[in-house]
Structures are given as C-alpha cells and as structure tokens.
C-alpha cells in the first residue's frame, strides 16, 4: 500500500471540478434522467440511476441473458461513472487543473471458482452484447439462466452523507481554500521555500445488477487535500508532506482542518533537519496511535483476505480458531466507519457491508470474503468484494482496518522501553502473503532511550513476520484513532482506497533499518 498520489491508467488520470450546472461534469441526470441530482450515498429511483448510463431494464435483461447463455453460478454487470477533479497550486499560483470522466460496464460470469471477465466503455447494446459473449466464454456447458425481473434493493444506512454533492461545488469556491492552506504553510517558518497544494475531489456512480435480478446502486464521493513542502537551511534541503482524505464534502475543509494540515506538514518537514537514522538491528518498536495501522494492514490484513486462503497460499490458511495474539488484541476490518476512505454502503458485488472481526481477543476469527470465497467456505460474504473500477473483477479487500483499545496507556508503553523507537508517520508498506514477511517505511519517528523520547529519526524501513509480530504485541493503549491521511491499497494490479488505525502499541521485537557507524 502507499500514500503517494496515485496515477491510474490513462483513462482514469485525474480531472473536472467544474460544478457548472447542467454539464456532464456533475452528477446530474442525462437527458433521460431529467435533472435529478444524485445525492452521495442515497438511492434515487432506479430509472434515474439507469438513465446515467443511458440504459433501461430491458437492455440489462438482454445483456444478462447473453452473459449467462452458457450457464453460470453467478453473473453480474457493474456499471460505473466516475468524475474526478484536481487543482494544483505551485510556486505561488494556481497553475493547473485536471479532470477526467471514466465510464463503462464490467461483465462477469463465475462458474465454480472460474471467472470470465470483459468490459466496455461503449455502452451501446451491441458493444455490451459482444463483451457479454467474451465473458461467457469461461462457461462450457450448463443451461442458460432464465431471464428475471430487475428490482432495486434498498438499504437503510449511509456512511457518506454530504451536505452538498461535489458536482455542485464551483471551482472558484475551492481556490480560496487552496490559497489559504498554502499561505498558512508558507508563513509557518522562514526556511520553507516551496509549497505545493494539491486538491482532489470526485464521485462515482455505481450500479450492480446480478443474475437473480437484484440491482444495487451507490454514489460514492471522495476528496483529498495534500500539502507538500520543501525547506532549506544553509545547503541542506528537506521535503515532506501531509494530507487529509475521506468520503467528505466541501464543508469538511474548515479553517481548523486547514490549520491542522499546515501544521502537520510543517512539523513533519522541519523535524527532518534534526533527524538521524537509528542504530540497525532488532529492537522494540512503539507504534504511535493512528497511521501505524499500516502494521495491521500488512502483517495480518492481506493474509486474511480469503482468496489467498482458498488458494492455500496465505500463512494464515490454517489458523482460524487459533490463538495468535494476547487476549487484549482485537482486530477488525470495518466498512461502516462513516466518511472514511474505506467506508462502503454496499460492496462491489452488491453484498451488504459489515464490521468484520479478524482477531477476537487474540483468537483468529474470520477471513474477509467475497462471494466466491464465501461459497467455498460455506459462510456469509463479509461485504469485502471490491474492485478498482469496471475494468476489474472483484476480490476480497480490506476497508478500514484497526485494532480496538487495549488496557495500557501511551505513557506506560514508552516508559517500558529501554532502547527502541517510536514509528509516527509512514509512506508505504508491503507483504509476502505466504512467507508472512511484511515491511513498512517510517518517514518520521523518535528514538526511545531508558523510557524517554530522546531524538527524532527518519527514513527507515521496518521488516517483520506477520504471525510473529502478532505474538510479540506486548502492550496496547486506550487511544485508538484512524489516520486522517489517505491510503491506497494495491493487490493484483488493482488499487482501492482504504483506511487504517491503531491505538499506541508495543511490538517487543522487529528488525529496524538503520546505520551503525
């Protein structure tokens, strides 16, 4: 996973924050849908959602019939319309903006654990039928599935309530916020000589129709604000950044939040002038509350995605029901954290979402399931089937991953460490699912000597082994929080937004990159 500004495929490069009424940049109806505004998270009448894609129920039925003509255990159509905007301020001027529109449908047929997949950006009946025939190629025999009546499935919850959809926010409204943030950062310290602010917002409409006639719809907003700084002292240059991200609207960017972001970016950058590398080798690592949830994401989260276990390639493949950590360790993956990047109202297969307990008081409890793995394990799907876009078939993925509060305090934890480090901010991490080795890269942290924080550290990689690290969790504090910055998780070439969190946690031993001079 990483925190870098992601640039996806050509088609999905960033994009139109127009907010000019009635134009296609906004989540507004096409001619077919009239002028209905799609409200994030809420469900409009099915005809309005279909209107977005200029399709109707008979068209969907016709395509589904073609898709299942050679038999299918499961089949679905995933329509998606995404609109993304970004604006950049650099060297004192708002110098560029970009926008993108990405629209298409992905068609999937599942037979046993075999998948046929095709997509098209061309939503004409002819193009969709051709794609359906391609996807159906996976099925060799089996009776054609009988046509069904398509009905919209309703739900009662909404985890991303915006007072105003992004489509209605004018670009000119965003510019003063961007300038304000840049000014706050610039005036914070005379040695700051470059300030880059990058604003991104967007929303996607999805419509999922399965072969049983269930239709699920969702409108998912997303926004992110980055503050990147370069500072100079003599002939030493340092740079660093901070960002705020979530499924929020324009009014989320209050003065207080902008001040917080500027302060974070400034302190993360200025501390680098005094930061050193810690000694190299094994030592206790204190994970600061918040972004350190990257430990869970890499050390256990990926290994608990059920596809790896179904294929017998995860180190956790035979650990359900086993004691893997002390009693005070409970780890969850939760789609219901409102406003988080990992929040979902419905997963990308149309399954209801939930808070899934991965480790319950130290005992391995459940994998993260999509429909295929749920069927394999004969359990209920956990609403973890996600995909990057209509170009990809879904698989089990994390949402918001965090550890529940434990019995200790941050002060107790730090005081208990004779010689070790605190990990505070991170840029990226990775894991080998089968061997269990995982890493994360610390951008900012602190050295602990004799129970006291003594000096800042920077730029070191941590490497450990998942099950071993879980066993070595010796203290967990009562200060759990989710990271305010945005994280993007990559798996098999697909990127999805996720969140992560942790209370202050002590892992008694991990291998710390460093330098012994």
């Amino acid at each position: 996973m990483s925190q870098t500004l992601s640039r996806r495929s050509f088609a999905a490069v960033s994009t139109l924050g127009l907010g000019l009424p009635g134009l296609l940049g906004g989540c507004r109806g096409t001619t077919k849908a009239g002028s209905t505004t799609m409200i994030p998270g809420e469900q409009a009448p099915l005809a309005d959602h279909l209107g977005w894609f200029s399709v109707d129920k008979p068209t969907i039925a016709r395509v589904m019939t073609e898709l299942t003509a050679r038999g299918a255990d499961a089949a679905d159509l995933y329509f998606q319309y995404s609109r993304d905007n970004s604006i950049t301020m650099e060297d004192g001027i708002i110098s560029r903006a970009s926008s993108s529109i990405d629209q298409g449908v992905g068609l999937r047929v599942v037979v046993g654990d075999q998948t046929g997949y095709a997509f098209t950006e061309d939503l004409s009946l002819e193009a969709m039928l051709a794609a359906a025939r391609t996807a159906a190629g996976i099925a060799h025999s089996g009776a054609a599935h009988a046509p069904v009546e398509f009905k919209q499935r309703s739900r009662s919850t909404n985890f991303y309530t915006l007072s105003q959809p992004w489509a209605e926010v004018q670009t000119v409204q965003k510019l003063p916020r961007i300038e304000h943030l840049a000014a706050l950062a610039r005036k914070a310290d005379p040695s700051i000589h470059k300030v880059t602010v990058s604003w991104a917002d967007g929303e996607e409409l999805v419509l999922i129709a399965d072969m049983h006639g269930n239709v699920h719809t969702d409108v998912r907003p997303m926004t992110r604000l980055w503050c990147m700084l370069t500072a100079k002292k003599g002939d030493v240059t340092q740079s660093n950044s901070a960002n705020l991200a979530g499924r929020h609207g324009f009014d989320w960017y209050t003065d207080e939040r902008l001040e917080f972001l500027a302060k974070e970016a400034v302190s993360r950058t200025m501390v680098l002038f005094d930061a050193k590398r810690p000694p190299a080798g094994e030592m206790p690592v204190v994970l600061a509350a918040g972004a350190s949830g990257i430990l869970l994401h890499e050390a256990i989260g990926h290994g608990m995605e059920a596809d790896f276990n179904r294929k017998n390639t995860s180190i956790y493949a035979s650990m359900i029901g086993k004691k893997v950590a002390p009693d005070f360790v409970t780890i969850v993956d939760d789609a219901t954290q409102a406003g988080e990047r990992g929040a979902l109202n419905v997963d990308d297969e149309g399954n209801p979402v939930e808070k899934t307990v991965l480790v319950d008081h130290g005992v391995m409890a459940s994998y993260l399931h999509d429909s295929i793995s749920a069927k394999h394990y004969k359990v209920k799907a956990t609403g973890s089937g996600r995909r990057e876009s209509f170009r990809h078939s879904p698989m089990p993925r994390m949402r918001s991953t965090y550890m529940e509060n434990g019995p200790h305090t941050r002060e107790e934890i730090i005081a208990s460490v004779k010689k070790g480090i605190i990990a505070e901010t991170f840029t990226n991490g990775q894991v080998q699912i089968g061997a269990g080795d995982f890493t994360f890269y610390i951008k900012n942290g602190w050295l602990i000597e004799d129970g006291k924080i003594t000096a800042p550290i920077k730029d070191i990689n941590i490497i450990g082994n998942g099950p071993e690290a879980l066993r070595n969790v010796t203290m967990v504090a009562n200060d759990c929080k989710l990271d305010f910055g945005g994280w993007t998780c990559g798996k098999d070439g697909q990127s999805v937004p996720v969140s992560q969190g942790l209370p202050t946690t002590l892992v008694s031993k991990m291998t710390v990159g460093g330098e012994n001079v």
């Binding site: 050509f10 088609a11 490069v13 994009t15 139109l16 127009l18 000019l20 134009l23 296609l24 604006i87 001027i93 708002i94 110098s95 560029r96 903006a97 926008s99 993108s100 529109i101 990405d102 075999q114 998948t115 997949y117 095709a118 997509f119 950006e121 794609a131 190629g137 996976i138 470059k194 880059t196 370069t230 100079k232 240059t237 740079s239 590398r277 190299a280 080798g281 094994e282 294929k311 017998n312 390639t313 956790y316 840029t427 990775q430 089968g434 061997a435 269990g436 080795d437 995982f438 890493t439 994360f440 890269y441 920077k458 730029d459 070191i460 990689n461 291998t511 990159g513 460093g514 330098e515």
Partner: protein, 437 residues
C-alpha cells in the same frame, strides 16, 4: 489509425472553437487479454478493448489537462467546452506554453519493431496450452502446494495532434507470461517464488516451461530462509532487483523534482556523483525496446541522451514547462529505455570475486527520499560464503544514501535484465549496511 488521428484533430478543433488558443490531444485504443491458470485449470479469463482521449488546454495564459472515455460526439463537445471554461478560472502561468514546434523536427524514421503481428493472432487454445505447460512444470516438484500461471498480451494504437502543427501516431504489442509457485514449510509458512518474461515480440521469449522452472527454483531456494546478521558487508544485487534500485536513484533527474527542490541531484549536472563504472544512456531507439519511441509525450523528437557518464551527471529529463522555469532547454520529459554500460563478468564470477557478502534477489517494500537520497529497503536473498551462493536469508533491511551507495559501485555484470526498459546487470556494492538479527 486514421480514425484516431482524426479524433485527436476533432478534439483540437473543438477546443479552439471553445476559446483555447492552443491545445494538445492524444487518443488511444488498447486491446488486452489475460488468462490465469491455477493447479490444473483455468481460473480467470479477461479480455477487453479500451479507448480514451486526453487533452491539454492553453487558454488565456492558463493551463489544464483532461481525459475522458466517453467519446460520443455530443458528450465530447460538452466535455471540452466545459474544460475550457474551467481553465479560465485558474491563474495565469507565465511559464506555461505549448511545446516549441522546432522540437518536433528531425523525427527519426527507423523501424523500432514495436509490433509483432503474431500477438494479435494468439488463440485461446494456445494461451491455455502454454499456461498448462507452466503449471505442469511448476507442479513437477511434489512440495508445491499451489501454482499460478498467467499469459498476458495486448496491442495498442494511438495518435496525437496539436494546434501548432504536431501530428503523430504509434502502435505496439506486448506478450508475456509469469509463474508463481508456493511450497509449504513447517506448520504455517508458505514461501513463494515467481518468474516472468515479457517482450514486444513472441520470438525471443524463453519457453513457458523455462519460466516456470525458474519460478520453481526460486521457490525451493527459499526453503530454510533465516534472518541474517546485522552487518556492514558487500552487496551483490541480481539484475531483476537492480532495475528498481537504479530507477530509484535516477527518478530525481526530472526537471520537476529539481525545480521543486526535491532532488538530491539538483545542481549536480557536470559533477561526479557516482562511481566510475556507472554509465547510463537513455536510448529511445532500441529495436523491440519496451519503451522505444519516435517522439515523447510532448512531441519532442527522440534521440539518445547520456544520463550518467563514468559517474558524472550529464543530463536531466527536462520538459517544456519545468525547463522554462529552470531556464534550461527541453531534452525530454520522460524516460525511454535506459541502457547501462556493462562489465565483463557473469553473476557466478562476480560472486566468486566477492567471496563474502549478501546476494539480494528481490526487495520487499522500503522507500527513498528523493530530496536527500536517503533510502531503506527490505530484502530477501542469500548469504555469499567462500565465493559461492549460500543459505537463503530474509526479513532484513539495507539502509544508506543513494549517492553514497552508487559511489561505492565496484563492479557490474555482463547480464542485462531483458524484460524491462531499464536494462540493468548484476551490481556489486562495497561496504553496505544491513539490519538483521
């Protein structure tokens, strides 16, 4: 192809009609096919044709860029009109101009052999047969509990046009396969190893079974892996792992990084930063090269460019915009193929010379700071003992500074990695800090 260039020109016309003084448009179409095979049967087949348009707008001294996959004529017209309106509310940028048409001149005409017509003709049966061969090879060792084989291929076509006279088209094909095998070790560990091969042409790729055999060897080699010691010693980096390490070292060569003060190579042009043995050329004209091209994304005609000569930084990647901010002439804004001057020894001979150290076969995570060059990377590999590759090691980090590391580049191999546009050989570095037990 003519329909693509026509679409690009139409987009330019729409932009000018909407009030843009200048515009640059690119249109592309890609077909991709992937077949995944696992443990005796097909697991997933994906096949699609994709298209899209990107456009850059220059409006009253302001700039923006946009992309869309909705190419219906009425939608496209609305999209571009709206994009021009958006550009007008931004602030004027004196450094933003459309690329100078003088840079379009002298476009090379050599056949870069980017397209293998046989790739488009691959049948489903052929793909499945090759995957089955890989699968059988991977399962030839009874310790293997699962193996995944993948055959992927694609063809693309594109065209670009600008309001100041640029016109260009390109096409390309690629085909490759990969194999990953997993074995069981002890109660829970399932170490894996993988190998892949990719090229523009089918001819020249190894047999699928040879790729699977390498994946299997790499997997078996992991058995018994332990954490090595915390030590300063010699590091030998496998060509495949050398690709990302060199890429990391070179990424701060971009004019954007330099102008923004986020490059440890800023102000180093003409200076010796790296070891004598490091010579790297950006070469866009390699036949069948994965990043070969006649022109870059700004239409700048392709030519060979020395990046590093005997450790001296010669050129940056300078695009029109950041070049103007820095007062430097544009070279090219993006890397093509990067070719290293080679040594004359094989990996085995280098290992024999080194006697004792650590042989890195792959990285796990880690990162570097482009501003300072500080890096720290996770790794797996083997001990080097008595001039031979020894026991497998993992769960270790290597930490240092990229400039200091490459200053201590002692030797290069004669074995450039063929499946990347960055053709790195085996690298030998002296006095490197490892963290382990």
């Amino acid at each position: 192809m003519s329909d693509l260039i026509q679409s690009a020109r139409t987009a330019i016309d729409l932009a000018k009609k909407a009030g843009a003084q200048d515009a640059w448009a690119a249109v592309s179409r890609d077909r991709s096919v992937s077949l995944v095979y696992r443990d005796g049967k097909v697991e997933k087949v994906e096949e699609s044709t994709s298209r899209g348009l990107g456009i850059s707008l220059y409006v009253d001294g302001r700039y923006s860029s946009h992309s869309t996959t909705d190419l219906r004529p009425d939608r496209l017209a609305g999209f571009i009109k709206e994009a021009v309106a958006l550009t007008r509310v931004l602030q004027p940028d004196p450094f933003r101009v459309i690329p100078d048409p003088a840079l379009f001149k002298g476009r090379p005409t050599a056949d870069l052999e980017r397209v293998d017509p046989s790739v488009a003709k691959l049948t489903r049966e052929q793909r499945e047969a090759w995957c089955a061969e890989m699968d059988a090879k991977a399962h030839s060792d009874s310790r293997v509990i699962s193996a995944e084989s993948n055959l992927f291929s694609g063809e693309s076509q594109g065209a670009a046009a600008s309001s100041n006279g640029f016109d260009g088209t390109w096409d390309g094909s690629y085909v490759g396969y990969s194999c990953t095998a997993t074995v069981r070790e002890g109660e829970d560990k399932r170490p894996e190893g993988s190998a892949h091969a990719v090229g523009r042409f089918l001819a020249g790729l190894p047999e699928p079974a040879a790729v699977a055999a390498l994946a299997l060897k790499r997997t078996i080699d992991r058995l018994g892996s332990t954490k090595g010691p915390t030590v300063r010693t010699t590091m030998v980096v496998d060509p495949e792992a050398a690709v990302s390490l060199i890429s990391r070292a070179l990424s701060p060569l971009s004019a954007a990084s330099i102008q923004q003060g986020r490059s440890y190579l800023a102000g180093k042009q003409g200076q010796k930063v790296f070891g004598d043995k490091l010579t790297i050329t950006d070469d866009p004209l390699v036949p069948r090269g994965l990043s070969s091209r006649h022109f870059d994304g700004e239409g700048i005609s392709a030519k060979r460019m020395p990046l590093i000569e005997a450790g001296v930084v010669r050129n940056y990647y300078v695009d029109t915009y950041y070049g103007k901010k820095l007062g430097m002439a544009p070279t090219t804004g993006s890397a093509s193929n990067r070719v290293l001057a080679l040594g004359n020894k094989s990996l085995a001979a280098l290992i024999a010379d080194v006697q004792d150290g650590i042989y890195v076969t792959s990285w796990l995570g880690g990162n570097s700071d482009a501003t300072t060059g500080d890096f720290s990377l996770g790794l797996r590999g083997h001990q080097i003992k008595g001039g031979k590759i020894g026991a497998p090691i993992g769960e270790m980090n290597v930490t240092g500074n990229l400039a200091a590391l490459f200053a201590k580049l002692a030797l290069l191999g004669d074995d450039p990695y063929p499946y990347s546009s960055l053709r790195a050989p085996t690298l030998v570095f002296e006095d490197v800090q490892f963290s382990g037990t």
